[in-house]
């Protein structure tokens, strides 16, 4: 878990340093060593005392260390590694202790230093400063090696650390000023004296720390540069505290030069990393931003209570609201009143971590227009895996929906055309077949009459004519019989199917037709109807025919247009389908002729649909009948034997 978190958040990069970084670090260490070796012989050469040097140097160091400490505290807050907290505390300590050290330095603010400093105050503070810093660094190295578990509540720990360090620095200041006289004498005039023993000790401790950092196989970039810090720091301590002997000699100045490098190395690394990461993030974000902005789909961010947090350009385009108008507002304002409940349910499901894909629903634009959209919703998780928000991608499918509706319309029109043309062709064929003998009947009968009305009547010729009329009339009847037989014996493609499904298919086909005539459709499909063994297409033709008849019948009628479709199970496993309308209805006289071929009550009707329908139903062993509907209109019903008990 720790590693994962480090992977995610540690800065600078937790990855092992590359060859270039390692080489640069080693080069810096080597340069420091070389500078030390070169300067060593001249360490005790006394240089002029520059009064402004120390405060200027200390001020620079203070700022550098403070910035480093702040960056490290931030790093800790993200990585939650106790080691980083110790390291940050070390840098804060380094910064804060510079204040009493500078104030008490003799000859800077006062000849004997401020804060009631004694002659040894500054020297003691110097060793507390250096020793303390190394102690903190060692603390970091030890903790980082043990890689302890992530700490919680980093904020409180940071405050605690800052307070502790401040108290520590205050206590050390008190000790070295108020308790000045109890401490051993370190410095005699400008000569160092006793402290000869302290600096080497600190150097050895620091070297131990460096040695601990050195072999780490999974040494991070931070560790590598801490190694550089330690090495330069040791160089500084050596030349100042071991090789040098007096204030303002070369060793004294040189030690501070190394000090600047030691303090600067980590700051440079941290700033570089911060910059690199910022740059990377900004680039990522601008890349993402470009994608979101130029998306054709509305991309909307929301909190779990439905408050909009982001609103892209496509959302502005689709819904009409600008981003400032929507951000911070409840998303409910684009949801139609009747769908508010649906949205609450969606948010509840997302809060549980569910996703929703291609959910089709309706939204209201700023101008009140209803927009058909397809929604894809994903929960947004925070680092701990809790759902903190919703990302919503909405696609405007109004045009697609319209196209779909139009397609249905076209389909319905096509079905109608096909039906009309099929019947038209059939009627033309039948008309021709019947017309021929009919012509012969009429002609022969007329001829017969003329033969009879001659003077004298030619009886023999008249007889021949009448015989012709009879035979032609018989043929006309034959034609009709043949047409019926043709329909009866049409090769039926019998299959077992659900009548409910078959009717649903028909309804899907003529939905546009129903809508176009403002007809309200009521369906009541019984779930217990047995399946039927029949020619599916033929049965669908019958249903289609009855529905279209019903629509036509309602076209001429006033009042509400209601089409009712029902299926039911009847005795002996019969399936009964009824198609009722609220149209003009059928009078008693028509009811008898209704199923005769060529009988029609419609101005453009062929008078063939019901006859064919009845023939189809009868061929399947069923019945087709009509009756008055209540309260008005007509009701057509047909029955088909259930497939479990087909009649012969």
């Amino acid at each position: 878990v720790t590693d994962a978190l480090r992977q995610e958040t540690a800065l600078p990069s937790p990855a092992p340093p590359g060859h270039r970084e390692t080489a640069a670090a080693l080069l810096l260490v080597a340069a420091s060593g070389l500078a030390l070796v070169l300067a060593a012989p001249f360490a005790r050469v006394q240089l002029p005392e520059i009064k402004a040097f120390l405060p200027a140097y200390q001020a620079a160091l203070l700022i550098t260390d403070l910035i480093t400490a702040i960056l490290l505290y931030n790093l800790f807050a993200r990585a939650r590694s106790a080691a980083l907290l110790v390291l940050a505390s070390g840098y804060l300590f380094d910064a804060l202790i510079l204040v009493p050290h500078t104030l008490t330095f003799p000859g800077v603010f006062a000849d004997t230093g401020l804060l009631g400093a004694g002659p040894q105050t500054t020297a003691w503070l110097y060793y507390f400063w250096h020793g303390g810093f190394i102690a903190f660094l060692l603390g970091y190295i030890v903790l980082a090696r043990r890689s302890p578990a992530a700490v919680r509540d980093s904020g409180r720990l940071v405050i605690g650390s800052v307070l502790s360090v401040t108290v520590l620095v205050a206590a050390l200041t008190g000790l070295t000023t108020l308790g000045h006289d109890w401490l051993p004498v370190l410095i005699q005039g400008t000569d160092y004296g006793f402290r000869r023993w302290i600096s080497p000790f600190i150097c050895i401790v620091a070297a131990v720390g460096a040695a601990m950092l050195w072999p780490r196989r999974n040494r991070s970039l931070l560790d590598l540069w801490l190694l550089v810090v330690l090495c330069t720091w040791i160089c500084g301590e050596l030349i100042n505290g071991v090789l040098g002997a007096h204030r303002f000699d070369l060793g004294w100045y040189g030690g501070r030069a190394f000090g600047v490098v030691a303090a600067g190395v980590l700051l440079v690394l941290l700033l570089t990393s911060v910059h690199a990461e910022l740059h990377e993030r900004l680039r990522d974000q601008s890349r993402l931003a470009v994608i979101v902005t130029s998306s054709d789909d509305a991309i909307v961010g929301m909190t779990l209570d439905g408050t909009v947090t982001s609103w892209n350009a496509a959302a502005e385009r689709i819904f009409g609201y600008t981003a400032p108008e929507m951000i911070g507002q409840p998303v409910a304002r684009i949801i139609p009143a009747e769908l508010q409940g649906e949205e609450r349910e969606i948010l509840r499901r997302l809060a549980r971590g569910e996703r929703m894909k291609n959910f089709h629903t309706v939204r209201t634009g700023k101008n009140g227009r209803r927009i058909d959209i397809s929604l894809t919703l994903s929960p947004v998780f925070d680092q701990s895996g809790a759902v903190v928000g919703v990302s919503k991608i909405a696609r405007d499918i109004t045009a697609e929906k319209r196209a779909e509706t139009e397609l249905q319309q076209v389909r319905a029109d096509l079905a109608r055309v096909a039906r009309v043309t099929a019947l038209g062709e059939m009627t033309a064929a039948i008309a021709h077949e019947v017309n021929q003998p009919l012509t012969a009947v009429v002609n022969s009968a007329n001829a017969g009459l003329r033969w009879l009305s001659g003077e004298p009547p030619d009886l023999a010729a008249a007889r021949r004519s009448i015989e012709r009329a009879v035979s032609a009339g018989t043929r006309a009847a034959e034609v009709i019989k043949r047409v019926r037989a043709l329909i009866d014996k049409a090769p039926a493609q019998r299959e077992r199917f659900s009548i409910n499904d078959a009717i649903s298919e028909v309804l899907a086909l003529i939905q546009g037709e129903i809508a176009r005539h403002s007809v309200r459709l009521r369906t009541s499909f019984a779930s217990d109807v047995p399946s039927v063994l029949a020619d599916r297409i033929q049965v669908q033709q019958v249903v289609l025919n009855l529905i279209l008849n019903a629509i036509d019948a309602m076209n001429g009628a006033s009042g509400p247009r209601e089409l009712s479709l029902a299926t039911a199970r009847r005795e002996a496993d019969d399936v009964e389908v009824t198609v009722g309308d609220s149209g003009i209805g059928i009078d008693e006289k028509s009811l008898e002729k209704l199923f005769e071929p060529f009988y029609t009550t419609k101005p453009q009707g062929m008078g063939i649909g019901l006859a064919v329908s009845r023939a189809i139903v009868q061929a399947h062993g069923g019945l087709l009948w009509a009756q008055a509907n209540t309260p008005r209109g007509a009701l057509f019903a047909f029955s088909l034997p259930g497939s479990d008990g087909p009649r012969s």
Binding site: H432, Q436, T439, R450, A469
Partner: protein, 210 residues
């Protein structure tokens, strides 16, 4: 103008035997001759009597349709008027038929009186046509007996030019033209110049312009 035509005959062409027989029966019952054929080929193979008549033609026929057959008739030597019968006539079909010279366009089942009226009218038309054709034939026969020079002179005469001009145009003497003119009048049996002009009209000879 002899006009010694026999009994007119109606030719019925319909692939439906009952229909064509009943039509023939009906036509015979009003005292006209009738011949029924099952196809146009049968009709063309039949040796037709030289009497006035007409054709009753079904639009829908096996092979070439009635309309096509009518078009071939127009370009042939058979000038009988055509009456169409159809089981399901469309307006465009009837317009086409009438435009190419059909006499009537009747829809089955055909009204008896309509058919008989159409037949009578067609026969009357055919009779007129036959008289006209006969006249043209006679005039053409006389014209054929003219000499080449007389055929040259005739158009100039019917254009009403004086002999002197005709002589000038043809490079003849006025006297010669006079002789030709008298011969033409005699051979063509023209009683007057107006008579001759009418004959030239019948033969569609344009008056000479030279």
């Amino acid at each position: 103008m002899t006009g010694t035509d026999g009994q007119p005959v109606v030719f019925i062409i319909d692939d439906d035997e009952q229909v064509r027989d009943s039509v023939a029966d009906l036509i015979r019952s009003v005292g006209l001759g009738a011949h029924a054929f099952g196809s146009t080929e049968d009709f063309l193979a039949f040796k037709r009597p030289d009497v006035p008549g007409c054709i009753v033609l079904d639009v829908r026929l096996p092979g070439a349709s009635g309309l096509e057959f009518q078009r071939t008739l127009v370009g042939s030597s058979i000038h009988l008027p055509v009456i169409f019968m159809t089981g399901h006539g469309s307006i465009s079909m009837s317009v086409k038929a009438i435009k190419s010279g059909a006499k009537e366009f009747l829809t089955k089942p055909v009204q008896e009186q309509e058919l008989l009226d159409a037949v009578q009218a067609s026969i009357a038309q055919d009779r007129l046509r036959r008289q006209h054709d006969k006249l043209v034939g006679e005039v053409r026969g006389r014209f054929d007996s003219l000499t080449a020079r007389e055929r040259e002179v005739l158009p100039l005469v019917v254009s009403g030019r004086p002999n002197k001009q005709i002589a000038g145009a043809l490079g003849l003497s006025e006297m010669t033209v006079k002789v030709h003119r008298a011969q033409i009048m005699r051979k063509m049996a023209a009683r007057s110049l107006v008579d001759l002009v009418r004959m030239a009209d019948l033969m569609e000879i344009a008056p000479g312009k030279r």
